[in-house]
């Protein structure tokens, strides 16, 4: 089975600063694999081993995110045999369709695939729509919120968790699946895998993205006003502390 796992490289949210204009300062943030895509990579690795498949990772983005060898190795140390990249600085990839069109174009340029796996959403924009839109653009089956994948010959039996129930679906291939962040616990790459990652091939694809135009205009992006909090903080867990807590609760709600 040929499996392609999509992963987005995003700024590390712990390192995002705030400018005096209340806009985000991404300039000092380092790049990392979007955390929900780690679950997609893990699920892809498992499916690949169950089907004696071949796993390729795909990432689309700007050069600032994708040029670094560290991030490339990080992806490759987690299971994929090769990495395909679409690097394009003329796009912001800031809406779900723009990104989906770029991924669809990249997928069309490959020599075929059986399954494309995506995470539930990206750590930065979290629209949770890219996988679905990729499937719809390619006109192939697509399922979101997948919590289990069981290969059965050339079809997949897929469990999808909804708010009020669980669906078991039969999906013919090729297909695009978006997995949840609780489908697995991503494993930490072993030293051997980290060493091997540097030797795995990285292909920079030449894919024209002329169709991938944005359909959303970002008018502004501002840090929300922080809710005023009293911040009465006391230290210690003795009787006195418990009594002040009790008095506070009594005054507020009891």
């Amino acid at each position: 089975m040929k499996i392609i796992v999509c992963c987005k490289i995003v700024p590390d949210e712990q390192e995002i600063g705030v400018l005096p204009s209340k806009e985000l300062d991404l300039s000092k943030a380092s790049w990392k694999i979007s955390q929900y895509d780690l679950n997609a990579i893990e699920a892809a690795k498992k499916l690949s081993s169950e089907t004696s498949g071949f796993l390729t990772a795909l990432s689309v983005g700007r050069s600032s995110a994708l040029e670094g060898t560290k991030i490339r190795k990080d992806i490759l140390s987690r299971g994929p045999e090769e990495l395909a990249l679409v690097i394009d600085d003329t796009h912001m990839f800031s809406d779900s369709l723009e990104t989906a069109k770029a991924i669809a174009a990249a997928l069309k340029s490959t020599d075929g695939f059986d399954v494309v796996l995506c995470g539930t959403g990206s750590g930065d924009l979290y629209s949770q729509e890219v996988g679905i839109q990729v499937g719809a653009l390619l006109d192939i089956p697509t399922v979101n919120n997948v919590t289990d994948i069981r290969p059965n010959g050339n079809i997949l039996e897929v469990e999808r968790t909804l708010e009020d129930g669980i669906e078991v679906l039969e999906v013919t291939l090729p297909a695009v699946l978006s997995v949840t962040s609780d489908i697995n616990v991503p494993s930490v790459p072993a030293m051997k895998e980290i060493m091997r990652a540097g030797k795995k091939p990285v292909h920079v694809l030449e894919v024209p993205l002329t169709d991938a135009l944005p359909s959303i205009n970002n008018l502004s992006q501002q840090v929300p006003d922080q809710q005023e909090r009293r911040m009465i903080i006391i230290e210690g867990d003795d009787e006195e502390a418990v009594e002040s807590l009790y008095q506070f609760l009594k005054k507020e709600i009891l």
Partner: protein, 308 residues
């Protein structure tokens, strides 16, 4: 781009009324799309829509109608589509967006008309920022966060225009089983008081202590993402945060919650936040009204004694 007409798509009656109420604030030309038979459509004829289109689903799932719905939407030269933010709705939204050549604005926390434009707000970067966005094309698809339109305070006439959608469904995945989930029964989004359990809890048995505190405070119990997802000590539906449930209780009592930005984004509408954590540098204290730097295993039992 002004959107003259709005399509509201919903698989649930409650969210249909809520979305139609919101849609009517933006336009009089509202079409409701529901999944079910003519009787189901007649039952919601007073939702506020000019027309109710029904999609029978005896032998398929709602997603199979996406192309059919897109054809209906395309009959308007420009239109907005509103859905709730459920898993299935997001799937329908994404497909419709692809067929209508538009991105989806997911989980909008505000939708307002501004000079003929529809401007949406949504949270990005795990709660670090709020983005204001507008569609640039003739169509737009939005999934709407819970309760953003407020209480429904309007009554609408019953519409006579009830029609079956004209195109047939296209089955792309086959459903082979469906199990209703046993419901936990907690509705955190509506809870007035919440005990919020974090990773500071050492073991699953210690939830007893938290439950006991909650019952004395007449509170529901929620948790942070890792407690549900990694430890699996509580159902996924009980985790609070930007990607889980967003809450707005009068009192939120955080036990051993560190206060990651995504979690704070889920609790910052609480009126009063009380926090106990061992680590005095935990970000939760910057978001608390009252905090104790100390051991939950000493403080909570002592507090339970006082409250009983």
């Amino acid at each position: 781009m002004p959107f003259q007409s709005i399509f509201v798509i919903s698989e649930k009656k409650e969210s249909l009324y809520e979305l139609c109420f919101g849609a009517r604030k933006l336009s009089d030309q509202v079409t409701a799309v529901i999944f079910g038979d003519r009787t189901a459509a007649e039952n919601v004829a007073d939702c506020g829509a000019k027309c109710v289109l029904y999609c029978p689903t005896e032998s398929c799932i709602p997603e199979d109608y996406c192309k059919a719905i897109a054809s209906e939407v395309k009959k308007s030269p420009c239109a907005l589509v509103l859905l709730n933010n459920s898993v299935r709705s997001r799937c329908i939204a994404g497909k419709l967006g692809a067929y209508l050549d538009t991105a989806v604005i997911t989980c909008a926390s505000e939708i307002v008309a501004d000079n003929g434009d529809i401007v949406c707000k949504r949270t990005v970067y795990g709660g670090a920022a709020i983005s204001s966005q507008a569609f640039t094309g003739s169509y737009g698809v939005i999934t709407v966060g819970n309760g953003i339109f407020g209480d429904i305070d309007a009554k609408y006439p019953v519409t006579e225009k009830i029609e079956q959608i004209s195109e047939k469904p296209e089955c792309t995945v086959k459903i082979i089983a469906r199990n209703e989930k046993k419901s936990g029964g907690t509705n955190l989004a509506a809870a007035k008081r919440i005990v919020d359990v974090g990773r500071g809890l050492a073991s699953e048995e210690d939830l007893d202590m938290c439950n006991q505190l909650a019952s004395l405070l007449d509170a529901e119990v929620g948790c942070s993402r890792p407690v549900a997802e990694n430890n699996k000590w509580m159902p996924i539906s009980n985790y609070i945060g930007l990607t889980g449930t967003t809450v707005k209780p009068d009192l939120l009592f955080a036990l051993g919650v560190s206060g990651q930005v995504q979690h704070i984004a889920g609790i910052n509408k609480s009126k009063v936040i009380v926090a106990i954590n061992k680590d005095k540098n935990a970000p939760i204290f910057k978001n608390a009204d009252f905090g104790i730097v100390g051991d939950i295993y000493k403080i909570v039992p002592a507090l339970i004694k006082k409250l009983s």
